[in-house]
Every structure is written in structure tokens, then in C-alpha cells.
Amino acid sequence: MNIIVLIKQVPEIEKVRFDYEKGRLDRSSAGAVTNPFDLNALEAAVQIRERVGGVVTAISMGPMQAIESLRDALARGADRAILLSDERFAGADTLATAYTLAAAIKRLGKFDLVICGEKTVDGDTAQVGPEVAEFLGIPHAAYVEEILDVEKGWIIVRARMERSYYLMRLRLPALITVTKDINNPRLPSLKDKLRAMRMPIPVWNYTDLSEIADPKYFGLNGSPTRVIKVYTPISEKRKGQMISGSPKEVSQRILQILRENKILA
């Protein structure tokens, strides 16, 4: 089974600062790590391969330093990794990112399953996975919290809905995005980490992907999203109020407040 895992390197979200003037994360303010949800995606892929055999390929789009996240993926069980890196891929919104990732998947050839994390902790949109599926013209399921079965040509998953769940049988090739509940990502062994440090990771650029996709949809040029303003919403706090007096006075006052605020007629 050919499984592709999409991975993003993100800033350490607990430490990163937000640049309010530019309306974006100041990525220089924190170290970089693999998006935590992507580790669940990778673990899910490795578990399927351990059961039915196959090859797990990790793909990431980003600057050259994102190669660290791919090395991490190799240490944690991916068989190979590809980095999509080119200045002309930069500034991509979710649509252009999904388009570029889909182009890379097409360039790889035959595949059975694409697994992504439910979202990234920096963008938080949860859009890229389903958009990739659309560009590839394959079915998808988002927020998968359990893979019940993978059989010839099909995958059965349980996806989280707000207060229920959705049991889906998808025809392969398909794409799923997974939640943190699906598994506990394993720690890599030191041996695998050292091996991963020595493995070559091919880098695909603008020219490589222009062979199979329309480059005008790459990067900033291919991104219809425009960030106009970013602000922190003011959170409403509970306003405590002490009312004293006899039980009768207090209850009268409460009634009055509830009426004033149109909670009671």
C-alpha cells in the first residue's frame, strides 16, 4: 500500500509571538517543530504499513529548514521523504498550498491513501487536507479518530462530529485527516534517528512541479486569500455583583436585574 503523509513544520506555538503590525506570526521568535497533528498522521500511516505492508512517503512544503521535520518523519518510520521548496511556492494560502501538494502527489504516481493531521497549530484552518483531496479528485474524511479497517480498495473510518460520529467507508485512493485521539505517536529509536540523519531527501522545486501543474496557481500568485486585518477579540468576562439585604430584598433586586437585562419578561 502506498501511503502519503503530509507534514508541516510549524513554530513552537507556546513560544511564538504574533506580529500585530504585519498581521502574521513572527516565526523567528520561536524554534520549529513538526506540527503535532502530523505526528498522529504519520503514526497512523506506519501502523497501516506494519499491518498490510507498503511504503510510507512524507511530503512537506516549506523553506529548506523544513527538511528537519522530514528527517523526524524518517526517524519515526517513514520510508522516504520529499521536500517541496522554492521561493515561488512562498506566501501560499491554503488553496495554493493544497494545489502544490496535490501536484507533488500526482508527480509521485500511484498512491492508495493520503493522511494529514486535522489541522496545523499555526494556521488552524483545517482546510488543506480536504482541498488536496478535491484537487486530486478523490474522496476524503476529516477528523478521523479511528481507522476500523483497511481492506482491498476500501478504508473504513470513524470521524468525529460535534456530538456524534460518522462511520464512513471510502473507496481508495482516498484522503483522511486525523485527530490527536487516533493514536499515541511513538518515539523514534536512536538508531532510526541516526539512520534518518544520513538518508538523502530529494527537494522538488518550481520547475519539477510545473511539468504537471499550472504554475500560476503556486505561491502568493495562486493565493486568493488576502489578510486585511488581524486583531485579538476582547473576551467578555463575568461581572460578579454582591447583593445584600433580607431574603425578600435580595430576591426583589435579582428579579429587577433579570428584567432590566431582558432575561425575564
Binding site: 503535532p36 523526524d72 518515539l187 523514534p188 529509536s189
Partner: protein
Amino acid sequence: MMKNSGIPSSLIVENLKGVVGDKWVITEREFMENYLKDETPDPIRPKPAEDLILVKPSSTEEVSRILKIANENRIPVFPVGGRTGLVGGAVPTEPGIILSLERMSRIEVDEENLMAVAEAGATLGDLIKAAESAGLFFPPHPGDEGAQIGGLIATNAGGARAIKYGVMRNYVRGLEIVLPTGEILSLGGKLLKNNTGYDLMQLIIGSEGTLCVITKAVIRLFPKSKYMVTLIVPFNERSDALRTVPQILRSGIIPLAIEYVQLREILEAAGHINENWPVQKGLAQLIIILEGSSQEEILSACEGISKVCEANNAIDILLAETPEEQNRILKIRSNIYTALKPRMMDILDVTVPPSSLEKLMEQVDMIASKYGIYLPTYGHAGDGNLHVHIMRKDVESIDMAKKIKEEIYGAALKLGGVITGEHGIGKLRTENISLVLSEKHIDIMRSIKRIFDPNNILNPNKVLP
């Protein structure tokens, strides 16, 4: 009426209010419950006295005036920090004043000198954060992050990350203290070398609140290491795991920490805080934390460690690199105590020369099988510091727990060790201190106590038997 004092406590309360303000003198028992105990297991924790006054000063001058009042009226004073101690050291065991410095919690980081000036009431968590936001690093992790600087110094706290840079004592460069008689002294400073006279500062570190009240400290910081990893190494045999530790240190690699845990306890700790422990194999595991300036440097050190571990039959070597994974490991490890505590009778912290740890463990095993019980054990293996727990269900009485404790103490002493490596003497171990210290040694300690505290008002009947 307070013990030894000839005046009614209401007058004392008024005097104290005159110093710190009405709001910061608390006499109602229900508002001081948290100040009456520390983290010592319930069955053996000393009972707090009745008739107590909780006072929260905001400055060194206020501390001085409070101590003068107490000294003039012969009222015992119990300085408390975060109350995370394990030997009843901070429990107010006699009627008197509980002195909490929690309002004195400022920290200033001096980036030029790589030092922090912290008031005694700042917490370990505050210090870690302050260092971090200045791009610096406070290497040790001497216990609960709610512990306060004053308490950490007064107890010379140790903890997990002491191998490479040492315990609390190795970080303190200066102290501001208030004597029980009210005088304020400044000891040391932002100095790395200081050879001026007897080093009273070192005497104060570890004096457990019996000599003076610490109000401020100069604490050494280090540049933040650029790269850190945590290894988990499972072994089938406990002796294999313990034998590995001195061999790693001999190989020339000094990790920040080498912790020894057993699968049974670490799984219990993980369950207790609803987390997953990432390595389910091997009876005994080593947790090794390494830090350095680059990934290459540290991975090459890891290769060195892996050779030693493999030669000692390690089953596997797993590596946590992301801060999230490393923090989870440290958090679970730190929660072994909280997971076991509700069922615990006592926690010991015997310490032996690092290479004797394997022998100590054999002795502990023999003691356990002699009594037909299980003694949950983990420890700071790189420091020769072992935590052995005596569980309630295994002992019929406090006396039986004492017997087991004394046998474990005996085993540690025979190996050239001591009864406590980090928890201190507090109240609980005063009955055992003479196992380690000679009569003459204790006499000198008594004389020192008299010089600092002629009226024996400060944390009385602690440390000294």
C-alpha cells in the same frame, strides 16, 4: 496566650498588624489550612499546633520588625515557602507565627552577569520563566515548581537535573537574610569568587529555616542550551540499568540528568495524570537528558551512551526531541510521587556514592523480601540518590515502617552513604540524624544555632535532635 510569652496574643496580633497592615495578619484557622502542612505523607506528617498567627510581610524591613517582635516576646516563628517539603520542616509544630514571604516575589535577571536576583517568595516556576524570557537557563529542576526560592535554598533542594551543574547550593551566589534578632545581613553577591572570611552563606544554605529568614538571593543562570534531547532506555534487569549509570559518566559524557524509574511506578504516574508513557517495555528504565550547543554534538554523545547501554543489555534506546514530548516525559516522571502519595507511609531519599547504587538496590530488595512487601523505588541515579517508598498497605503500624526505614538507612550508611540526599532533616528525621552525625558534630550545630538564635524562636525543634 502563646507559649513563653507573657502577653496576650491579641496584643501581638495588633503589633503585627501595625507592621504589615490588617489584611496581612490572619488568625482564622479556616484561612490558614494550607499553611499548616507540607507534602509529607499524611500518616507521618507532624501535627500543626493550635494558636497560630499567619503573617505575610511585603519587605525585608517588615520581616525584620516581625522577628524583633517575636524575639522580644519569645514567640516561635515558622518561615514557610511553597510547602512542598517531605519531612515536615515547614509545619508549625508549636503555637506561634507562620511567616509566609509569598508577597515578596520579584525577580530581576542580570543578563550581563548571568544571574538572577530573586526575592524569597518567588516560585521555582517564576524563576524558570524569568530566565527563559531573558534567553537564559536555570539548569536544575529541584522539585515542584510551586516551591519558593527561600525554601529551595533553606533546604538545599536537589532534584533530577543535578549531575552536570549541581544542586541548589551550587547556584546561590549571594543572600540577604534576617536574623531571628532582627538584624539584616547581606552575604556574598553577584560574585563567582569570594574568599572573605567564614562563608556564612554556605552555612545558611540547607539550614532549613532554623538560623535565619532568607529574604533575597542571587542565583546563577546559564546560557540557554540550543539543543536538548531526552532518551528513554528500557532494561529487563534493574541491575543492568543501574550498572550502566556510572559507566556512562566514566565514558566522559555528563548528561543533565540520569533518572532511574521502574515500569510499574511510571505507568501508574502516567495514568494518574491521564497521559501515556511512551515506552512500555523493560522492567527498569533510565531517563537521560542531554543538552548542548548543536544537534550533531548531542547525537554523537547519544551514540556514545548507546554503546554503553547496549553493552549492558539495554532492550532499546528511544529519543524524544520535541519540547512537547520531553516535557511530557518530565511531567510524568515528576508525578510518581503524587501518584503514590495517597497510599504512602513514607518516602526516603537515601544517597550513596554513585557507583554503589546497584548494591544499595540489592539491599533494598533484600529488606523488601524479608518483610514480604514491595517497595516502589526510583531515583536520581546519576547522583546515587534513591527514593524508596514505604506503602501503607504493607505495614501494620508506624513502628513497622520505622523499622523498615532504619534498615534501609543502615544499608545506605554501610555503603558510605547518608540518610538524606535532598529532603533534609526537617522534623521527621531529627530522630535519625545521629545515625550519620557524631555527638561532637551535633554539639557544634547546637552552638551555631544558639549564636544565630539565642532565644530559640526560629523553626524550633527542627533539624537538631
